[in-house]
Symmetry: C2
Subunit: 371 residues, 2 copies
């Protein structure tokens, strides 16, 4: 190591050795934390798992599929953005179990023309995300660096649980549906990033446009809310990665409950999107109810639980009435994860099916689960 | 789910939904095991971590970099091969800590024209590897499926430790260097796979050629030896992924010891390679001493420890003598991981430097660390 030359300024990964690349990465990344027993550099890292169990999730970001290096709007996804996004996605999954992130391993597959500075920026974005998202016990403990034609980032995050992990199938009816984080911001931001300039977004106030694009490029899930919701008694929880309607349906079907969303309670979230929706001709309710990648947390709490900071009640949860067997009848209208057929849609808005409420079909295959 | 059509025979991943792809994958994969508290399907998996700590490692295989789908020899890397190889690499890292693999998460990035059958074969290869390598407590607990231009596989493996994890920096001199597994087989196999037919490998007995190619395509590291070596008192250990000389040097430098390899003890391993080396004009010692990807285990045991089954003593380990400060002298001849300068090469063969012993320069940057 002492014999190797310093990385020249502006170098790309094809011009440096693996150990030079590691020197661009490791000193910038947060590699120490209260749960790191052995960090990067041996065959494995060793991570403390207080409580005798660990939660684990993995996620890959691939250029061209999960992000664009250069967006039609002229924005770019920097190394720092991707470090933050890859951290955010995975930390939100850990939070959604009611767990606290302890350790991350990251594998980077890099085209030869990737600047070495990109790697430094990535490490910095990743570590900043730990701080900014309140994952202060989390550290990078290992990884893999390789070459490839396509930029690809895989992160795996471990977490510890004080309480039993909160799964998506534990809601039993009679609960309050609560949400922390933003709704529809990442979807609106994706629209902004995909709109060439000049275009539909020109009339949107610059600060709002920036904030929505940032929500797509650098999502800020409420990581600390996960353990707080678990302590408040959450019986089911997940992170809203595929849209509120779809993810609420996941809880409803897995738990065998019906969820009714309260549009009045959702209005403040929708109001944040309205200036952008008005200027671009979009429907702010569609963004808020079906937009993915915000990585807010959606949980069911007992009705009498006090709400943790940042959590808003947005609906209610009732037992789903099983359908009686109807020999010779057509396929049933709904079916939960336990294979039991249920009456009516799993998720309603003010008592109506999403299609009725919107007055039109909405995205994400709702037809399969509606009357 | 009940509403989705069956995957048509011969379909590629661009023709099916994510849930169809999961149906090709999950039922074939081993997703249950003694440490799986919550398996695939929620935001995270939950894995038992008896002892309150977990070891973790990650590794990526990218087409064109880490393997070729179609080799010059006419061999192919199948989905099953890659499932086995990705398991083997990561399980060996866990074993090298003296740990027992408990859980794996896998992210697959697939070009659209990948046959769905490939995904099924991959799941089968992965699960077969758990059985065949003795990782019987290990299960697949989660992952991610995505599209990309380039086939890429990232696996992250967790493991549990009965005893404190064995690091590479714990050897203190006066120990026996032991090895389990094969030496040079994967390197010889890589040579066979990279040789077009007809070619240098035509005269090699077919069975030997097959066995060496298989060692590259589907390595079989001695996973169960890891905990056995830890129980036998190993003070340092790693898996031989970059060649015996280089990986022995890693132990020597991290621990501040000198390692001397005993060529007589290595002869039986080299003899297995000799018919292939004779027919192709290769040096079997070069394969055995510098070939990577066998993923055997290299450990230092106290001299009086009984050797676990399959382990062979191949050398000895002595304290490295620190060099006295020589003001104004040229750069020192060696330097260990603690930044202390040491006299002479970190690894010798029958007391000679690798260059002296081979009578020529050998690969892998040995010049930097020799007198």
């Amino acid at each position: 190591m002492t014999h190797e030359s310093v990385t020249p300024p502006g170098a790309t990964v094809s011009q440096v050795s693996e150990s030079q690349l590691l020197r661009a990465f490791l000193p910038v990344a947060t590699t120490h934390g209260p749960h790191v027993l052995t960090g990067p550099g041996d065959d494995c890292a060793v991570v403390a798992a207080p409580g005798g169990r660990v939660v684990v999730t993995t996620d890959t970001l691939t250029a061209g599929q999960d992000f664009l290096a250069a967006w039609p709007s002229g924005d770019r996804s920097t190394g720092g953005d991707l470090g933050r996004k890859c951290a955010a996605q995975n930390l939100a999954d850990v939070a959604a179990m009611g767990a606290t992130p302890t350790a991350v391993v990251v594998s980077l597959t890099l085209p030869g023309d990737t600047p070495v500075q990109w790697v430094t920026d990535f490490a910095e974005g990743l570590s900043r995300a730990f701080e900014e998202l309140g994952a202060t016990e989390c550290a990078l403990v290992g990884g893999d660096l390789g070459r490839g034609r396509e930029l690809s980032i895989t992160a795996t995050v471990l977490g510890r649980c004080e309480l039993p992990p909160v799964l998506r199938d534990g809601a039993r009816g009679g609960g309050t549906l609560v949400h922390t984080g933003v709704l529809g911001h990442a979807a609106a931001g994706l629209d902004a990033l995909l709109t060439p300039v000049p275009g539909r977004w020109d009339e949107v106030p610059g600060e709002l446009r920036e904030s929505l694009s940032a929500a797509q490029l650098r999502p800020r899930p409420p990581v600390a809310s996960g353990p707080a919701l678990a302590r408040a008694g959450a019986t089911a929880m997940l992170d809203v990665s595929d849209g509120l309607l779809r993810d609420a349906r996941r809880i409803a079907e897995a738990s065998g409950v019906r969820i009714d969303l309260d549009p009045t309670a959702l209005e403040p979230a929708v109001a944040q999107l309205e200036p952008a929706a008005r200027a671009t001709g979009a429907d702010p309710w569609q963004w808020a109810l079906t937009g993915g990648e915000d990585h807010g947390l959606l949980a069911v709490l007992p009705v009498d639980s006090p709400l943790p900071p940042g959590a808003r009640a947005i609906g209610s949860c009732a037992p789903a009435a099983p359908v009686r067997a109807r020999p010779g009848s057509a396929a049933p209208t709904g079916c939960d994860a336990r294979g039991q057929h249920r009456e009516g849609p799993a998720v309603t808005i003010a008592g109506q099916s999403p299609r009725q409420w919107f007055g039109r079909d909405v995205v994400e295959g709702w037809d399969h689960f509606e009357p």
